[in-house]
């Protein structure tokens, strides 16, 4: 594997680090299996692509994309909290609907952003090689996100969110509005995913309605890899672990794809991911069974 390919994998890992943070918030903090991200990721990409094509500043396009992603989370939370639709099903409904919405937003299945200014453009003049500048900028952004999220989860409000996910009855008895926490959590989670979609569109140079397929599995894979690498009670470590998990996952996939003896093609990625995540979910159970035996 070439150095450029390695840096490319790191870059992609950092972009999906935002997704991993969102998935962690939904799955681990709120205990809400949320598939909305498969729709909010391409929505973020679509919104950013359309905005930048229309001459909107790249940074502003990130904010708009994050807000659009957050709105998706709001819809899923609304279906679940207000109407009692099963959380998983509520998120699938939003995800399916978003496929149509994304096509409407772009007006076509994909859109190129090549030769457009992105948030990275100003940094290309620093004299650092392009393939290193990109991950560097992304690294700074994702660290900021981790620090903000860790601080949020350490607040009274954030603690209430963790309790709402861990023990809803106890949270309620202590005056926590569990429904309200689900709203805020889903908004944050999908806002992060929308932001990731927008970053992806800017850096990859295109937006595609199918780019959301499997976002949730990749996010979950990152969270699981992170948890396996870093076992800690500290929220800050757990959040950093998500991002590192995402990078490690991408590098591992890149290694697998570039290893000729494995006969893997880029199109095998989804299968490889599904197998990896399945193994990661099964292994702890097998280990526990062996210990019990």
């Amino acid at each position: 594997m070439s150095a450029i390919a390695l840096w490319g994998a790191v870059e992609l890992g950092l972009i999906f680090g935002f997704v991993a943070l969102g998935v962690y918030l939904a799955f681990r903090v709120l205990d809400f299996p949320d598939l909305t991200v498969d729709g909010s990721f391409p929505l973020g990409a679509a919104v950013a692509a359309v905005a930048i094509s229309a001459g909107v500043d790249p940074w502003t396009s990130l904010i708009i994309a994050a807000i659009c992603g957050a709105a998706c989370g709001l819809v899923t939370a609304f279906l679940n909290v207000r109407f009692g639709i099963l959380n998983l099903l509520a998120s699938i409904l939003t995800m399916i609907a978003l496929f149509s919405v994304n096509l409407r937003v772009m007006g076509r299945p994909n859109m190129s952003l090549l030769n457009r200014d992105t948030i990275i453009s100003p940094f290309y003049d620093l004299g650092i090689p392009d393939h290193i500048v990109r991950p560097l900028v992304l690294f700074v952004l994702v660290v900021i996100a981790v620090l903000l999220l860790a601080r949020f989860l350490a607040s009274d409000f954030g603690l209430a969110m963790r309790a709402a996910g861990a023990n809803a009855r106890m949270a309620q008895a202590n005056g926590v509005n569990v429904g309200g926490q689900i709203y805020v959590g889903m908004v944050l989670s999908n806002g992060l995913t929308g932001l990731a979609g927008a970053l992806f569109a800017q850096i990859a140079g295109f937006a595609d309605v199918t780019s959301g397929v499997g976002t949730i599995v990749v996010g979950l894979a990152s969270v699981i890899v992170g948890e396996t690498l870093f076992r800690s009670r500290s929220m800050l470590v757990a959040l950093f672990a998500c991002v590192i998990g995402s990078v490690v996952y991408r590098v591992a996939v890149q290694l697998a794809l570039s290893a000729d003896f494995l006969f893997l093609k880029a199109s095998d990625l989804n299968l490889v991911t599904a197998v990896l995540v399945t193994l990661a979910l099964i292994l702890p159970k097998l280990k526990a069974r062996r210990r019990a035996a």
């Binding site: 009274d156 409000f157 603690l159 106890m170 309620q172 008895a173 005056g175 926590v176």
Partner: protein, 265 residues
């Protein structure tokens, strides 16, 4: 003052599983009273507690806290006046959060939760002092996960959590039932101490007649969703467990006491 007026609760109404848990019950707790509630399984003890806490919405009747009608208020909204300890030690705290995080969560009951740090130094010191008062040595394990503690330790901490923020009423739902005898007694005595210290109006459901008479200032017996006995003062002081068992037998129409339903000792 907490009052349940003409409270009716029926589960699964209109179905073969219909069960009338409360049938026009009237109970008033005056400020500072510590009422113990006894009755056999299905008498409506837990339903009464659930109705006051907001878990159960009555078909008929009113629940008042002070002068306010709270009958339709959600449990989370009611929490600013109602503190609770559950029967299941796992139910009253978050296993994945640390001891001090659990305490911080409970300390904010009834107040707006903002974005300030939950574990500020001043709060941590206060939590530590409160936990040290238990004498269980837990003040040195404030950062430990709640899930690492025994049922008794968790119940003791649940009591501390329930008394961190101000409340109009403390609801205890057989909170010693899941503990071994030694720990049950410790938690019962701790309850008595904390209730006195904070001057809390308390409603304690218990399966044990001994506990019902030993603790609190007034005892209420429920049967089939109604109050069948309500004693306080001298009459209660002179009452022995045997007398209570006799009354219980009378209420049930002379039926033999079901040992499973009621622990006498």
């Amino acid at each position: 003052m907490i009052a349940a007026e003409n409270l009716h609760v029926t589960f699964n109404p209109g179905t073969p599983l219909e069960r009338k848990a409360l049938r026009g019950i009237n109970v008033t707790l005056h400020d500072g009273e510590f009422v113990t509630v006894i009755g056999s399984n299905g008498a409506g003890k837990s339903t009464l507690l659930g109705a006051i806490a907001g878990d159960v919405t009555p078909q008929k009747g009113v629940i008042r806290v002070g002068a306010d009608d709270v009958t339709r208020e959600k449990p989370s909204a009611r929490a600013k006046r109602v503190a609770r300890v559950f029967q299941d030690p796992l139910a009253g705290s978050c296993a994945d959060l640390s001891i001090e995080e659990n305490l911080a969560l409970a300390a904010a009951r009834g107040s707006r939760r903002g974005f300030g740090l939950a574990l500020q130094a001043s709060r941590r010191a206060k939590f530590r002092d409160r936990v040290a008062e238990l004498g269980l040595g837990l003040e040195n394990r404030m950062g430990d996960r709640m899930g690492l503690l025994s049922g008794g330790q968790r119940q003791a901490l649940s009591l501390v959590m329930a008394t961190l923020a101000e409340a109009k009423v403390l609801l205890l739902d057989e909170h010693t039932a899941a503990l071994d005898p030694g720990m049950a007694e410790f938690v019962a005595n701790l309850t008595e101490k904390l209730v006195k210290q904070h001057g809390l109006t308390t409603l304690m459901v218990t399966h044990s007649m001994r506990q019902a008479l030993d603790h609190g200032t007034r005892t209420v017996m429920l049967h089939e969703g109604q109050v069948v006995l309500d004693i306080a003062g001298d009459r209660r002081h002179t009452m022995k467990v045997d007398d209570l068992v006799e009354m219980f037998r009378k209420v049930r129409g002379g039926a033999e006491l079901d040992d499973d339903a009621l622990r006498i000792g």
